[in-house]
């Protein structure tokens, strides 16, 4: 079975989600004697051939770096060129543009947000995904000739082995989106929340935006992203994109630290797939403790700075 995988790049390097995608495709291929071809844009020859170490057999390398619409054109052409039967990509912001477009264009079934590797039997593919905002899992099935599998970022860690991939230059015909970008602002030095491995999150227990220093300090020490509960974003203490939960972003980091958040069901829905959850709350009855792996009943203003110091000491010693 031929698998085509898309690996997103940024500033000349393959993003972590892209390495995850190649690993995901390689693991799937190894169960089914498949070949893995990877489409990349905006990287040099070395970076492209380096994807061999993650399990790509062949890399289609584009010189230009098109926008989402152009990338969907490139992928369509690559699917035809490689006669791919399965397309693998990360279901992140870009994947949400690409995967459904390909599905509609090719009449290919799309399973998005997969949270494990697929089982493939004959023409049928089955895979699990999280539904009801983390309150359940569903197994989905499809059997169209071409299938698109968009996994949730952080489903598996990139696996680097030996080897290089054959790199072929690829120049598909791509359109440009007519949507104009008037301005782009990138906050420097911040870890992006959707793909963060560690998230430090705080709620109304922090009392006011002026107190977020202790949250940011801990996040910096851990190289983590910051997040918040809904009311905190609603009152404008924190930007909207930090709001996690059922009506905000769903995150699944390795470590989620919740400070002064009560743990309402709608909040838990967005974070309960985190691998390890730490809850710091002065109320021993806070519902969040039921969902936690580690808990501290205490005042955030006293506890958090001491944790930050301990993290700094740990990192300095390491």
């Amino acid at each position: 079975m031929n698998i085509l995988v898309f690996a997103e790049s940024q500033h000349g390097a393959i993003k972590k989600s892209g390495l995850e995608a190649v690993t995901y495709a390689a693991r799937t291929a190894s169960q089914h004697q498949g070949t893995v071809t990877c489409l990349v844009a905006g990287v040099d020859e070395n970076v492209a051939s380096g994807l061999g170490a993650y399990g790509a057999h062949k890399v289609l390398k584009m010189e230009s770096h098109p926008d989402a619409l152009g990338l969907s054109d490139a992928l369509s052409e690559a699917i035809a060129a490689t006669q791919a039967r399965l397309v693998v990509l990360a279901y992140d912001a870009l994947g949400r543009h690409l995967a459904p477009r390909l599905s509609a264009r090719l009449g290919a079934a799309l399973i998005s947000g997969a949270s494990g590797l697929p089982e493939i039997q004959g023409d049928t593919l089955r895979v699990r995904k999280s539904v009801f905002s983390g309150k359940a899992f569903a197994t989905l099935e499809c059997s169209t000739p071409i299938k698109i599998l968009a996994f949730s970022p952080n489903t598996l860690a990139p696996e680097k082995k030996e080897g290089t991939a054959e790199v072929v230059s690829f120049s598909p015909a791509t359109r440009n989106s007519r949507i104009r970008v008037i301005k782009t602002e990138e906050k420097q030095g911040e870890v992006a929340l959707p793909d963060a491995e560690i998230v430090v999150s705080a709620g109304r227990g922090l009392k006011g935006p002026e107190n977020w220093g202790i949250v940011e300090d801990l996040a910096h020490a851990l190289n983590a992203a910051t997040a918040c509960s809904r009311p905190v974003a609603d009152i404008g203490w924190r930007p909207h994109h930090e709001h996690v939960g059922q009506t905000g972003l769903t995150v699944r980091p390795n470590l989620y630290i919740a400070i002064g958040i009560s743990g309402a069901i709608q909040h838990l829905a967005g974070v309960n797939q985190s691998k390890v959850i730490v809850v710091i709350n002065k109320d021993p009855e806070a519902p969040f403790f039921k969902a936690a792996d580690y808990g501290i009943v205490g005042d955030a203003f006293e506890v958090v700075p001491r944790i930050t110091e301990a993290v700094k000491k740990l990192k300095a010693g390491a």
Binding site: L98, F137, A138, C142, E190, T250, V279, F289
Partner: protein, 247 residues
Amino acid sequence: MKILVCLSKVPDTTSKISFTDNNTRFNSQGVQYILNPSDEWYALVRAIELKEAKLAESVSAVMVGGAEDDALLRKAVAIGADTLYRINAQPMDAYSVARMLADFIKTQDFQLVLTGRETIDYNGGEVPALLAEMLGWELASPVNKLDIVEGKARMESELGALTQVLEADLPLVISAAKGMADQRIPNMWGIRNSRMAVIQVVEPQPVEPLVRFVNYELPPAKGQVKMIPADQPELLVDLLHNEAKVI
């Protein structure tokens, strides 16, 4: 300019999730349904605000669903929508829903189609880009702020640390996310209007779903939480490093 808002129904956020028929079907017993929050709070309310600001002529709402969903769909009028359409089919997967929506949209003259960013039940977030592709329109997603300036859409889109200001000609599909508007509570007048609102029922061409739900499982119960004394927070760091191995 006419706006169409796509509304889906989902279990209330506090619903207990369970399954029947050997875990092959969602158990809707005792479940209260609501309009998907991002469809209602952000997409619908912003569309209505644009109409109130005379930047849009009318706001229509559409749902792919059965007659049992009419009461929920009426809420859109209570909030301020003008026209309601129900595409008469049970939603089976995002592809078939988008196909029915696209077929309907092609028969109408909407210039702006708003959806929510994703539904809180199946968390697909697929319909917006499916629709854009099926209609041959551009897609802006996710959009946190929306204005109409000289007949063009002016938008802000936040992706992690990246914020973009975008401008697009119409027609356009937009997926609405937090920040676009605030939840509106219907007033008495709206509620009265909504009771009399006519729902135009559209019979779709049947569309085969491409994805089937085989079965469901509940996540395993969480183990016991390990409590750390508040006067020894350093212990937490030690455990996260040596036991959980996450830092």
